[in-house]
């Protein structure tokens, strides 16, 4: 079954305090204070001088297991939140392939699941590899984006975006981090710009916990697991408060939700769950055989969850 072979992270060295980010966005002191005290945000990572090609290349180069295995990489998928990320015909993904020695790989961006896109990319990569005649074939998933426009900097009253990036090597069969289930719920009724539409924003915020919980429990049921058997929850990094509320609803211990990167990096688009996987394994929070749940939602809206076995 589909397995994560390795995960690596690139966090740009510049950490901007949210007060500076908020000031640039024209937020009031109260709004910034709410982000810090209520949502648990502290700083966001940005790469002031680099472009998207630099970001993706750095994430892939952080994958030690990629070196020497470039020839095995058949597919490269950029899991991206924004449908457009560079002015046509500029193509940062293919520019990155040139720097990485991967021009032989079939490479495309997979998008329109917003920040839940890395779960979709893992499902697509797994199916391409399962159907590939070469059992040693690998897929490389890249995630990470530039905060180049207001909609890529803030979700009003909810999150501030950062430029953390991640890369993952995927195999059709592996010994660890195997995908046991995937659930995805696409809800077009939440299409629109939340910043301009308070009614839409209120409707989305009201519905969010129920929809998030429903997709997570669907993934648990499909995998034959329960909240009791799940060692860790690796969430998207929108903020702390929304996950604390969900934990109260489902009776799951908040200290088993990996939220370290919320204050440290900001919401890094579709890279969040890979960033949190890297943090969880780096901190020794997962033991071999542990089941864990990854969950994310994307504006538009998509809700997705996956159960994996470490």
């Amino acid at each position: 079954m589909t397995a994560l072979e390795a995960v690596a992270v690139h966090l740009p060295p510049v950490a901007e305090p949210i007060e500076l980010v908020g000031e640039r966005l024209g937020l009031t002191a109260r709004q910034i204070g709410l982000f810090r005290r209520f949502h648990g945000l502290d700083q966001v990572r940005v790469d002031r001088d680099g472009d998207l090609t630099d970001l993706l290349t750095a994430a892939a180069k952080a994958l030690a297991q990629l070196s020497g295995n470039e020839h095995r990489v058949k597919y490269v998928l950029h899991a991206r939140s924004l449908p457009i990320a560079a002015p046509y015909p500029h193509n940062p993904l293919h520019d990155a392939l040139g720097r990485l020695g991967l021009t032989h790989a079939r490479a495309f961006t997979i998008t329109h699941h917003a920040c839940a896109g890395s779960l979709l990319a893992l499902d697509v990569a797994g199916r391409l590899l399962a159907a590939d005649p070469d059992p040693e074939a690998l897929a490389l998933i890249l995630a990470g984006e530039k905060t180049f426009t207001r909609d890529a900097r803030i979700v009003p009253d909810t999150a501030l975006f950062g430029e953390g990036a991640a890369a993952a090597l995927v195999r059709a069969e592996g010994e660890h981090d195997r995908v046991l289930s995937y659930a995805v719920d696409q809800r077009g009724e939440f299409d629109g710009r939340l910043a301009d539409d308070p009614e839409l924003m209120a409707r989305y915020q009201r519905s969010y916990p129920d929809l998030m919980i429903a997709v997570m429990e669907a993934a648990l049921n499909e995998a034959g697991e329960s909240w009791e058997s799940i060692r860790l929850l690796l969430p998207h990094n929108v903020n702390r408060i929304s996950w604390q509320r969900i934990c109260r609803r489902i009776g799951y211990p908040p200290d088993r939700v990996v939220l370290d990167n919320v204050p440290a990096a900001g919401h890094s688009f579709a890279a969040d769950i890979l960033l949190n996987h890297h943090t969880a394994t780096g901190r020794g929070l997962l033991r071999r055989g542990d089941r864990y749940l990854v969950a994310a939602s994307g504006l538009g809206a998509t809700f997705a969850a996956m159960v994996l076995q470490h």
Binding site: I84, T103, A130
Partner: protein, 291 residues
């Protein structure tokens, strides 16, 4: 909601995909979308182009020119999908930006298309994106993830920034869509292959190599990326409209698919994306009798 369990490690020995190409449509959409007049388009495009030092195309912005991928794709859904035969998988493919560049159109399509399919978009691969989508649909079918799939390629003709180098742009707003179904009739995908880093000087040689692989009596459609390539010997060829770089090949394939005189012959499409140098080939078997 779509839910699935673990995938097999491999589908080998290679099990045949149950999907058959049963229908295809191609069409143009005239006029401009009202979304092209939305001030958000200027804001987004300015923020997108600024780091790359590109200027806005003030004529395109002031003229509110451009078409919506939601409008093009929803028309494709209405033309091809019967509510009695719901779709499991929908892939939207594009290369040039939408007039509402921040919208996740595929999510909208999941709600519009019968079957509430798993819907997503593929981009940043030029004309190769639709060949990737073919491979993805085939992989989903062979791993139990789709019994019916809809692939929609869209292109709209107006950029709202001035590109830093010559770029392929369509001369109209168009869509091409392919419907794949299991359960009788249609054409099986026989061959899906590609060559990478094909330089301009090597194109003719690779097309000739591809042609040699084709089954007897195949009709080969040469996509817009092969407009300058002489027709190879050994197969009957047709050429796609060059003014539709990203949907033209599939539109020519749709024409051939609808021609009853070609029902007993294999159909193939080859195309090259000049930005990546990848040359793709797909070939479908003769039509199987329905039922």
């Amino acid at each position: 909601m779509r839910v699935r369990g673990p995938l097999p490690a491999t589908t080998l020995p290679r099990t045949a995909s149950p999907l058959r190409l049963t229908a295809a449509r191609a069409f143009d959409l005239t006029g401009d979308s009202p979304l092209a007049a939305d001030p958000d388009l200027r804001t987004f495009t300015a923020d997108l182009a600024r780091p790359y030092g590109m200027a806005l195309d003030e004529d395109a912005l002031a003229g509110a020119r451009g078409q919506s991928y939601a409008a093009l794709a929803e028309l494709a859904v209405r033309q091809l999908v019967d509510p009695a035969r719901p779709v499991d998988l929908l892939a939207l493919v594009y290369a040039t930006p939408d007039v509402r560049p921040g919208q996740s159109v595929a999510i909208q399509l999941a709600g519009v298309c019968p079957g509430e399919p798993l819907s997503f978009a593929i981009c940043d691969e030029g004309v190769g994106g639709t060949f990737s989508a073919l491979g993805i649909a085939d992989a989903y079918a062979r791993t139990g993830g789709a019994r019916r799939a809809l692939l929609i390629a869209v292109e709209q003709a107006d950029l709202h920034h001035r590109p830093h180098r010559p770029a392929r742009l369509p001369d109209r707003h168009s869509a091409s869509a392919l419907l794949w179904e299991s359960g009788g009739g249609g054409r099986a995908l026989q061959l899906l292959d590609s060559r990478v880093d094909v330089t301009a000087g090597q194109i003719g040689e690779v097309v000739a190599e591809f042609t040699a692989w084709l089954p007897a009596r195949a009709l080969l459609v040469l996509g817009p990326g092969l407009v300058d390539v002489p027709a190879p010997g050994g197969a009957e060829t047709r050429r796609a409209r060059p003014g539709n770089p990203y949907t033209g090949g599939w539109a020519a394939l749709a024409d051939a698919l609808a021609d009853p005189r070609l029902a007993g012959r294999p159909l193939a499409l080859a195309d090259r994306e000049p930005e990546t140098g990848r040359l793709d080939l797909a070939c479908w078997a003769p039509e199987e009798p329905a039922g």
